[in-house]
């Protein structure tokens, strides 16, 4: 187990370097960001040159990348164009998005798995069909539609929830955006769980468990559910990474100043230090979430062993 973890951690190094290099390349391939800082006005050449020099932009790309990575390993993610250190932006944004993600993941796990088990055990009945149709609808509605719709209905019309989240991001105001963020994944979790449960319900070991005379509750939780959760855990694991970076739409709708907002603004203003810095952290989140998922397999299915 320990050796496996170490091997996986070592494998992360090339993945990390490769992906950050690609991001770096893509952000800088967008062109010279200094031109956009002066609005519609043509930049003053001397000032623009001075800014380029201070941002290390007057160097060729093959020199910029090692320079940037060298700084990152010293904990220096550079200065965003509005004069704030990127680490300061991260310290403000990541906790907010993490809270939002956790809320979303809890919602999709609790509701999604419950619905999945429920409909999987009643395969083919009307309740199962209803759940399938509902999840299909949810999957096909884009987040910005469901977001604005729920915001308008619950926030403006019914006034059950605040339409936007206050800057302190209190938990009760985060529930609605958390639900919006969770919706699509929730539908996937439901469908994955349902299929998995329906298949495993006819497996030999379930028949054995029932034949042994175990109570139905124990058969479902200990034998059926545990074995059916592997694809679901895989999905949720990768989803955590996706939710952390992909909350751009939800965060904009509900005025949450998290990672999505910073990334969106960074891309819009071609603020390369912000974009590369945030994506680098997101890459790390993805890698670690994936590792945890792989380790969870062994917990869920004793047949899986890591040497």
């Amino acid at each position: 187990m320990g050796r496996y973890v170490i091997r996986r951690l070592l494998q992360m190094i090339p993945v990390f370097i490769g992906s950050t290099f690609l991001i770096f390349l893509m952000v800088y391939a967008l062109g010279d960001p200094v031109a956009a800082m002066f609005g519609e006005r043509a930049p003053d050449p001397a000032t623009a040159a001075q800014i380029r020099h201070d941002l290390y932009l007057d160097q060729p790309l093959w020199k910029q990348y090692p320079h940037y990575m060298g700084q990152i390993f010293q904990g220096n993610f550079g200065i965003a164009f509005n004069g704030r250190p990127v680490t300061e932006l991260m310290a403000a944004a990541f906790p907010v998005t993490l809270r939002l993600t956790l809320i979303a993941v809890v919602i999709e796990m609790v509701v999604g798995i419950a619905l999945g088990v429920f409909s999987g055990l009643r395969r083919g009945r009307s309740i199962d069909t209803t759940v399938l149709v509902l999840t299909l609808i949810v999957v096909s509605v884009p987040t910005f539609v469901s977001g604005y719709l729920l915001q308008f209905v619950f926030g403006v019309k019914l006034e059950w929830a605040a339409p936007t989240v206050a800057f302190e991001t209190p938990l009760n105001e985060m529930l609605l955006p958390g639900l919006v963020l969770a919706l699509v994944s929730l539908a996937y979790v439901t469908r994955l769980t349902r299929t998995s449960i329906a298949e495993n319900a006819r497996a030999d070991y379930i028949r054995t468990a029932v034949a042994k005379g175990l109570p139905r509750r124990r058969v479902i939780t200990r034998h059926l559910l545990r074995n059916s959760l592997i694809p679901v855990v895989t999905f949720i694991g990768t989803d955590i990474g996706a939710l952390m970076g992909g909350a751009i739409v939800t965060e904009r709708i509900f005025n949450i100043h998290g990672v999505g907002f910073q990334l969106y603004q960074g891309i819009l203003r071609q603020n390369s230090p912000t974009v590369v810095g945030f994506v680098t952290i997101l890459v790390l989140v993805f890698l670690i979430a994936n590792l945890l998922v792989d380790l969870l397999y062994a917990v869920l299915d004793p047949r899986i062993r890591y040497a």
């Binding site: 010279d32 002066f38 006005r41 800057f167 965060e251 603004q265």
Partner: protein
């Protein structure tokens, strides 16, 4: 901090049940002169230094925080003395500035001649990387502190000199009779010594001499401005303060306004323009701002710039149905343009409707004829370049092309040419890579006709993106700058503008309005000519 805020809110709720009106949530619910108004904001793109603020979000803060020698009247746009007692000159080159007594910064430091001179020297010095540095280019010695290449050879502008606490002199490197009227621009604001001593500290909590002081600044989320009670000026705050709240999206701000969580928005999202009149009624603001949108031609490209092509350029201008586009696409938030300035200048300031003449009026038959006489569209096909990332330009570019195609009876005569990012768009323009007309917008720095003409069409001027050059135009601009009084200067500038009407180096499309809205809780919300709300005049209740 979050816990404390929650507790405060809970206590406030209880209080609100007991008493009808309380000062909870930072003044919400309260009325009168002490109530706080919340307004939408965007994260400023640059640090909040006056000489580094070239966009409207940072400009909102500076408008509340600082007062300079002059200020542009929020209604008329006229430059009026604020800290300046008088600015005198005999030759339009050597100016003596005399300050009014009794002004201080909110930290008690008096505003002296040094406060101005130090701030201007800071703004001009190359190594401080101030984006508005070119505003000091007319002052003597600018090329030493801000050389085109290499390091600066001087730290201060030789044209500035402090005579006593209330007097300083300015020497310009050319005649510029309307120069004092440019001094209302943010770059020319005074700064206290703490700005230079503790720069980071000043940026964390800026100190100024305006009607508001900064109470607290949570960067990226909210800036709380409060009334400065000892403000000596004639335009004190009529409310208790302004909370500028950063919104991720204008749609979100609009939703918050509808829900009553936000008092003032100053940008109505395009998607809501159809509903805004029914949603807000009289609380919807739609008034001219100092912004004009044009289509510039690459005059450096001989296919567009050669003699005789002015017929095609004028013809294209006449092929655009501005009325229909401003009505259908912009819901009357733009006004068809008939000159190259802006209505906010007023007739006295040089705005002259109809100066463009028949060339800015939709006339399909004449358009077809002119384009044919000029030899047709180069290559038979026209592309209009725009940046696709911000501002939803696609809609109107497609509409303009549609109008041209309909006029010419050719579905393929004109197409939009989107460029992915604004930076890339600007880079292509700077590198002279445009092969057809491109979107060009101009937001004025100060309400002077000079600002709409010289930077854009004077030979090799800083924002002359199409590289238009005409000796007659340049000569008239020079004469206008040296003219002894404003009336004559304006007349000469308009003569120069008539050359644009003949040569059509850029097609005036429409004047852009500022838009905004507010809730029933507040009154007296207006926008100044820069489309920034006049915060100090907003009243509550």
């Amino acid at each position: 901090m979050p816990t404390a805020a929650r507790v405060q809110r809970a206590v406030c709720l209880a209080g609100a049940l007991a008493l009808a009106a309380t000062a909870c949530g930072g003044g919400r619910g309260a009325t009168g002169g002490s109530a706080v108004v919340s307004a939408s904001w965007g994260d400023p793109q640059n640090p909040l230094e006056p000489a580094n603020t070239n966009e409207v979000q940072g400009g909102k803060v500076l408008e509340m925080l600082l007062r300079g020698l002059k200020r542009y009247n929020p209604r008329t746009g006229a430059a009026e003395n604020v800290l300046a007692e008088k600015i005198v000159t005999t030759d339009a080159r050597h100016y003596t500035v005399r300050l009014r007594p009794g002004w201080t910064f909110s930290n008690g430091e008096p505003v002296t001649a040094k406060s101005f001179v130090d701030a201007w020297n800071y703004g001009a010095l190359l190594t401080n990387k101030q984006k508005n540095a070119p505003f000091f280019q007319y002052i003597d010695g600018f090329e030493k502190v801000h050389p085109d290449k290499g390091a600066p050879t001087a730290k201060t502008l030789s044209g500035l000199s402090v005579k006593d606490d209330r007097t300083f002199t300015v020497t310009l490197n050319q005649k510029f009779s309307t120069w004092p009227d440019t001094l209302g621009y943010a770059a020319f604001m005074p700064l206290p010594q703490s700005f230079f001593r503790d720069h980071a500290g000043w940026l964390a909590q800026p100190v100024g001499n305006g009607p508001y002081r900064v109470d607290s600044y949570d960067k990226g989320t909210v800036l709380r401005m409060r009334k400065w009670t000892r403000y000596p000026g004639s335009d004190p705050a009529r409310n208790g303060g302004i909370d500028l709240r950063v919104y991720t999206d204008t749609d979100t701000a609009y939703t918050d306004l509808q829900a009553g969580n936000l008092d003032v928005v100053d940008d109505i999202p395009a998607s809501q323009l159809k509903n805004v009149r029914t949603d807000l009624g009289k609380r919807y603001i739609n008034q001219p701002a100092g912004i004009i949108q044009t289509l510039a031609f690459p005059m450096y490209d001989p296919r567009w710039g050669r003699p005789g092509m002015e017929k095609v350029r004028r013809g294209l201008s006449m092929a655009i149905d501005r009325e229909q586009i401003t009505r259908e696409i912009f819901q009357h938030t733009r006004t068809p343009a008939t000159d190259w300035t802006s209505p906010v200048l007023g007739e006295k300031g040089g705005h002259k409707p109809g100066l463009c003449g028949e060339a800015c009026v939709f006339a399909p038959a004449k358009a077809r004829q002119l384009i044919k006489e000029g030899g047709g569209i180069p290559g038979g096909r026209l592309t209009i370049a725009y940046n696709a990332d911000t501002g939803s330009h696609k809609d109107w570019v497609d509409a303009v092309c549609n109008s041209i195609n309909n006029t010419l009876g050719n579905d393929r005569a004109c197409v939009g040419n989107p460029v992915g990012t604004f930076a890339d768009f600007r880079n292509k323009i700077s590198a002279r890579q445009m092969t057809g007309p491109f979107r060009s917008g101009w937001q004025m720095d100060y309400p002077l006709i000079q600002n709409f003409l010289q930077p854009l069409y004077y030979t090799n001027a800083s924002s002359n993106d199409g590289k238009f050059s005409d000796p007659g135009f340049d000569a008239l601009v020079n004469q206008a700058n040296a003219a002894p009084d404003t009336r004559q200067a304006v007349a000469l500038f308009q003569d120069a503008e008539r050359i644009l009407a003949r040569k059509m180096p850029s097609i005036p499309l429409w004047y852009q309005n500022g838009s905004g809205g507010y809730t029933e809780r507040v009154r007296n919300v207006t926008l100044n000519p820069f489309s920034v709300p006049v915060y100090n005049e907003i009243t509550v209740g």
